[in-house]
Amino acid sequence: MTRRDSALRLARVGGVITSVALVAFAGIYVRALMFTPIERFQGPAQKIFYVHAPVAWAALLAFLVTGILSLLYLIMRDRKLDTIAAASAEVGVAFAVVMLTTGPLWGKPVWGTWWSWDARLTSTLFIFLLFVGYQVLRGALHDPEIRARFSAVMGVMALVLVPFIHVTVYWFRTLHPEPVLMKPERPSLPGVMLVTLLSSVAVCTLMYVGFLLMRYSLAVLRDIREEEIVDGVS
């Protein structure tokens, strides 16, 4: 099987997984909107949680994958690791955008403010900014080996940074307690809601995998195309 065939195969697998995940995601929508009870204190807006939290989890997963594969690339120098890391970064940006738009839409009606600089929100914002920086760096480097090496360095640094950001904001809040916002308690979710949440997490994870496979095979197909063009010219 040629390289192109195996890339196409992977793309097909990825496409199937993604399609299944998208349909399942629609199913989550139905379940969350129609078959999950409305939370009494937060109102319907609470349901945003069933989309926001799993998507945030997927963005974090994407970030961890990029970071860890970056480290592995520096150790093993297998170009595939870099290609997967970059694919994960792009997928992560997509999830991060959803996370950062649904977050404030949930925060405003429930907590009274579009944004609060608490540890978790600020960390996720920085994850988004680091993803963007990673993509910007990659876009500015044209030699594939240098691009892989340099973005791997950035990936590792970013991975180490995020815990620091979390701790910094956490300490900032603990040492400077701001007036307590109208923050809902975190009750243990009753059964129905918990199932909705967990299913949504599963679906988003599946979606991440599907997107990742597709984006990775896209990168491989593009590489093959590049080589064909170069070979065709020479």
């Binding site: 500015a140 590792v156 701790v167």
Partner: protein, 243 residues
């Protein structure tokens, strides 16, 4: 100096003596500073920038509602970090002329020595800018600097080492890109968040004459950041330098 084996960042025991490595570090730092000393363009730009930032921040506030102690720490650190970033890029830009970087690579200096030399050069540069802008800062803000000078210097030194180490690593990366002056801040800013926040909180605590116990947590955070990121920057630099 004892002739011993110096451990390079790759973990190889290279038969380069400690003395030679130290010599390389000072040689690289010295060369960078000598080159800068000839034109002093970057230095004066950073200095003027620092003074401008301080001035604008000073006049931008309402004196009746925002006290000196509230604004001063933030103003100081915004000034230091942005003026510092101007200086970080020059460490590698000067190596792009005549492929000077290849020349540096050809010397027996290990990547570790090159990194430390670059960091040292930048520290002297940024440190001097900080030193000169500090009196301007005192001019603008009525804060008890003299009483707390030693610990304040410690905080300034720590935070500066932190962002100069990370900045040196990133500068070595972006110098190969077209818009390196813009890319350096874009990539670096997330990494400035922990040390600058910690430095601002520490500066505020110090200038407010609060007891050490109140802000010792920030000191640990800053120290941890510097130790961890200095180490990572040092190790990862070797990957940047490869041919």
């Amino acid at each position: 100096m004892r002739r011993g084996r110096w451990w390079s960042a790759t973990g190889n025991w290279s038969p380069v003596s400690n003395a030679a490595t130290l010599q390389a570090i000072f040689a690289i730092a010295g060369k960078d500073l000598l080159v800068e000393g000839r034109t002093k363009t970057a230095f004066f730009s950073s200095l003027v920038f620092a003074i401008l930032v301080l001035t604008v921040l000073y006049f931008a506030r309402d004196k009746t509602s925002v006290g000196d102690l509230d604004l001063a720490p933030g103003a100081l650190w915004v000034t230091f970090t942005f003026a510092g970033m101007l200086g970080l890029n020059r460490a590698f830009v000067l190596e792009t002329e005549n492929r000077a970087m290849d020349g540096v690579r050809l010397t027996p200096a290990t990547p570790t020595a090159i990194f430390l030399g670059k960091v040292l050069g930048s520290l002297v540069f940024v440190g001097t800018v900080e030193l000169v802008s500090l009196p301007v800062f005192i001019l603008f803000y009525d804060v008890p600097i003299w009483r707390e000078l030693p610990i304040l210097i410690l905080v300034i030194a720590l935070a500066t080492i932190g962002f100069v180490s990370v900045g040196t690593l990133f500068a070595s990366m972006v110098v190969r890109t077209r818009f390196s002056e813009v890319m350096l801040p874009v990539l670096m800013l997330p990494f400035l968040f922990p040390p600058v926040v910690a430095a601002v909180q520490l500066t505020r605590g110090i200038l407010a004459l609060r007891p050490l116990s109140e802000y010792s947590g920030w000191l640990s955070l800053l120290a941890a950041f510097v130790i961890i990121f200095f180490t990572f920057s040092l190790f990862l630099f070797e990957a940047i330098l490869e041919e």
